[in-house]
């Protein structure tokens, strides 16, 4: 009798653990990040399954507080908003090592998706990212240079904040174009559980 109770109790415990594990397995593929800006807050859903390296890279910057007090420094209407690399005053931040380009993952540069910015070197993405404000299919792998731009998530809440940022007045700052005249600042970025 005691043995049956022990077995039943173990089964009950096991049944309780399994769904939780299953839930965390699903949750593990999609990471939620909240970005608080001086224009409002938006939430990103990152795809760790389709863009594991890129998602982990972004999360590392988020978790280290890198994106606090960082601006959206390049805003081009009907194209995208780009940020993650400069502090107010266009002071460039030192980044971690660049990452591999994972653009060939099937994800498209649709409106409100987030993708890695980079130089002409396909594997030069580090901290800078952009959010598409239009379907920019020409950026999809293989793109114009055989590599394209790696999409690793999308805005699932707060697209009105993206729209507001996309409308800010811009001008030149030094040799940079399309810089918001009034800073668009990421106050805080944090991973949601």
């Amino acid at each position: 009798m005691k043995l049956i109770r022990i077995i039943l109790a173990s089964l009950l415990v096991a049944l309780c653990i399994l769904p939780a594990q299953a839930a965390s397995l699903t949750k593990g593929k999609l990471k939620m990040v909240k970005i608080e800006t001086n224009h409002g807050t938006f939430t990103l859903q990152l795809d760790a399954e389709k863009a594991p390296i890129t998602t982990q890279n972004f999360l590392d910057y988020v978790n280290s507080g890198f994106y606090s007090n960082v601006v959206f420094h390049r805003v081009i209407p009907n194209f995208m908003i780009q940020g993650g690399g400069f502090e107010p005053g266009m002071k460039q931040k030192k980044t971690n090592d660049p990452i591999k380009n994972e653009a060939a993952n099937g994800l498209k540069n649709d409106k409100y998706t987030i993708a890695m910015a980079r130089t002409g070197d396909p594997h030069s993405g580090s901290s800078q990212f952009f959010i598409n404000t239009k379907n920019n299919s020409f950026l999809d792998y293989p793109g114009q240079d055989g590599w394209g731009y790696c999409v690793f998530g999308k805005v699932v809440e707060g697209t009105d904040v993206i729209d507001a940022i996309a409308k800010v007045k811009t001008g030149s700052s030094g040799f940079h174009q399309d810089v918001p005249k009034e800073d668009v600042i990421i106050i805080k970025a944090e991973v949601l559980q």
Binding site: T119, F130, L139, Q144, Y149
Partner: protein, 257 residues
Amino acid sequence: MTHPVLYPDSCIPYPEMPHTLFIADLHLSESHPHTAAQFLRFAQDVAPKAEALYILGDLFEYWAGDDDLDTPFHRQICGALSKLAAGGTRIFIMHGNRDFLMDEALAAACNAQLLNDPTLIDLYGQATLLTHGDILCTGDSAYQQFRATVRGTDWRSQFLSQPLRQRKAQIEQLRAQSEQSKREKAMAIMDVSNEAVLALLRHHDYPRLIHGHTHRPAKHLHHADGHTCERWVLGDWDTQANALLVDSTSVQQLKLS
């Protein structure tokens, strides 16, 4: 507003909007190494970001014929363009008043396509007419007569039948004469004629117009029959690299020194 096209790599300017570049009147020749260096730098650092590059005439100071392709200088220029095309930028070349003997062999060496003058294109949804610009200088009747002669097939085959050295000597003579007569001509007749512009715009259903030749970079507005047409004049490359950058939302003059 100038467009900073040479970002230091660390600033990560990509992604770029799809855009097209227009240049003209480079007058490339071995005797102007500075301009040639500017062009090579442009072809390497600026142009690759564009999805297309249109060269609207007078790429070369003169062109004696495609059999002149095989000089180190010409190979260098064509090589730069060919490399640019290989990277995905489509290249289109229009004849100017100096280099109107450019032909298919040159185009092949540059991995480019020759364009008729004028040519109407759809540029991000806007009808845009491209011309070198000399056909618009109708006030200069002496030049228009000369042009009619040298663009004829008879003159062309007769000229090209001569040995290359002889052609080059004749070109030198023509250039000297041209420089002399330019000094004598009134500034006004060397610019485009308003009537000629309006006629061209009407004929092509009121497009935007882009041309070079006059070396007077500017944006003009022409009003015709209820339409307002933009006329963009490209700058020459005498002192700095000049280009027009067009994308779906804007037209920008680029100056690079």
